[in-house]
């Protein structure tokens, strides 16, 4: 599920600075170049080790079926057969479509509602504001899995099992998104909003013409995260999307695994399912990396 529970704000660096114990004979480290090179090699090896499961997955996915279990580091023949067969298998495209709907609709609605709420919390005074904000914060501490059962009962009583709205709507209440937007909008200068008010602009115009354009970078970041959270989400789709036509890709992948399926087909399915994540990653890597460092968004 999308909500991350946590009690801490992102920390800055601590105040404690301790002096290192003084030594009498200052000396420059010898062999600094060699050490640096060794560290680079070590880091490179760790990086290769980290991506090697993906490499193995892609090699098997793109190799003819019935190859030995240890994929060759440099495969002799590559084929798209497995991928074509996976994509043309009945369920796969439906699952992909469902995952896309789940992710994209959630992105749109969360960006809209969270930025509206963030604007109100940041720049408006209204009764109960701080109490609401605290309640939003407090719900972050409740793990989604702790409320899984009542949530399921609620949605099934409302007739939402095996529907898109039943899948999507409960995942939209996202306090991380609200807090991120509030934090960002609070830093926008008040003069901007005062000027618009003096001009007599209606509030929705202020929101649409000032808040939205000025928060575009943070909206983009949040959008990427919400997309990944939903695309990769599993437990909620598992319990709510029960029929084959409503399954998302993550749930569909697990059903493939329990059937008698060739390894090459399973890995081809897995490889296709990860393509959107990889696209997001390659296009927006710098963005993702910076926003985690700056906001702690997870």
């Amino acid at each position: 599920m999308t909500e991350r529970t946590g009690v801490l704000d992102r920390p800055g660096t601590g105040p404690a600075v301790r002096r290192a114990p003084a030594r009498t004979s200052p000396r420059r480290p010898r062999g600094a170049v060699a050490r640096r090179a060794a560290l680079s090699v070590l880091l490179g090896l760790l990086a290769l080790l980290t991506v090697s499961p993906f490499a193995a997955m892609f090699v098997v996915a793109l190799s003819p079926a019935g190859k030995p279990t240890v994929p060759a580091a440099w495969p002799s023949s590559l084929t798209l057969d497995n991928v074509v067969r996976v994509v043309s298998a009945s369920g796969f495209l439906t699952w992909t479509f469902n995952s896309l709907v789940y992710a994209v609709v959630s992105v749109v609605i969360i960006l809209l509602t969270a930025s509206m709420a963030g604007y109100a919390f940041a720049k408006k005074r209204f009764p109960g504001r701080d109490a609401m904000l605290w309640t939003f914060l407090a719900t972050m501490m409740v793990p989604f899995q702790a409320t899984l059962i009542p949530m399921f009962v609620l949605i099934s009583d409302l007739g939402g099992v095996d529907t898109f709205w039943g899948l999507i709507v409960p995942t939209l209440a996202n306090s991380q998104a609200v807090f991120l937007m509030r934090q960002f909008i609070r830093d926008l200068p008040d003069e901007l909003f005062d000027a618009a008010k003096v001009d007599g602009a209606p509030e929705w115009v202020v929101y649409w013409r000032i808040v939205v354009p000025l928060t575009r970078p943070v909206l983009a970041t949040l959008g990427v995260f919400v997309f990944l959270w939903h695309w990769n989400d599993f437990l909620w789709p598992l319990v709510i999307a029960q029929s084959d036509e409503m399954r998302t890709l993550t749930v569909g992948l697990t059903t493939l695994q329990t059937e008698e399926i060739q390894l090459s087909m399973l890995m081809a399915s897995a490889a296709v399912s990860v393509v959107p994540c990889l696209l997001v990653f390659f296009v927006l890597q710098r963005y993702l990396v910076n926003s985690i460092a700056m906001t702690g968004l997870k």
Partner: protein
Amino acid sequence: MRQRLRDPITGLLFVLPMLVLFLIFRIFPTLGAAGMSLTDWKISGEWSFVGADNYARLLDDPNFLASLRVTLVYVAVYVPLVVLAALGTALLLNAVVFMRGLFRGMLFLPYVTSFVLAGVVWKWIYEYNGLLNGLLAKADVAPVKFLEESSLVLPALALVSAWKGFGYSMLILLAGLKSIPGSYLEAARVDGANAWQRFRRIVLPLLRPALFFVLVIETITAFQTFDTIYVMTGGGPAKASYTLIYGIYDQGFKFFDFGYAATLGIVLFALVLVVSLIQRRLLDRGER
């Protein structure tokens, strides 16, 4: 004056959509979980009030007690593993200049994928006829049943989650490292402090808040692990990876004992809360 009323009304209107979502889908189910834990709620929707029966049942339920132990062991294996992986790679990234961007990207890559994908790929890696045993065979090592051996299954699962997740903590720690002024380290170097002393006396104290943040987040993540277990072991072998969350899913959607499953949810909430508060306390003490 119109202006004085305008702010509260627009404020409320702008909050309203998210507020409604929150009331219905966060707050109501939270209260609902507490309420349901006091009933024998069935899948038919029939229920009667049973007081604290479900909580009394917890103490006599060997599956629950075993799942608590499994959960705590898993947390105890996963958290040090992921924090050390994140810290080690962050330190290396901070020290290395050569192709740093590329390496950082490669290390971060698993984070953007799903736990389900990680589970599917690593299940194959761990299988008796899988990749890892294939590689071990080439080195003349007898095959290992990573997922079928009670003593190996939790470390094996923890490794998968750590592989999938350490990139996040690595970035948080890297940001912490970058904010340490180079002049401190330079001064220590001039004073003759070696690399270990500089790490121990300067880097570690200054990194402490970021480390605590990572520790809390990863502990909570560990308590919530479900996807990889569902994909790779189904709680097995012989319930050796049957965690608290797996129990919630099992009681709810295999036995349809909603009242009891909700009770397990409350236990999970209490556990996460207690651990967070303890770590918060430690953090506050550490900062003083």
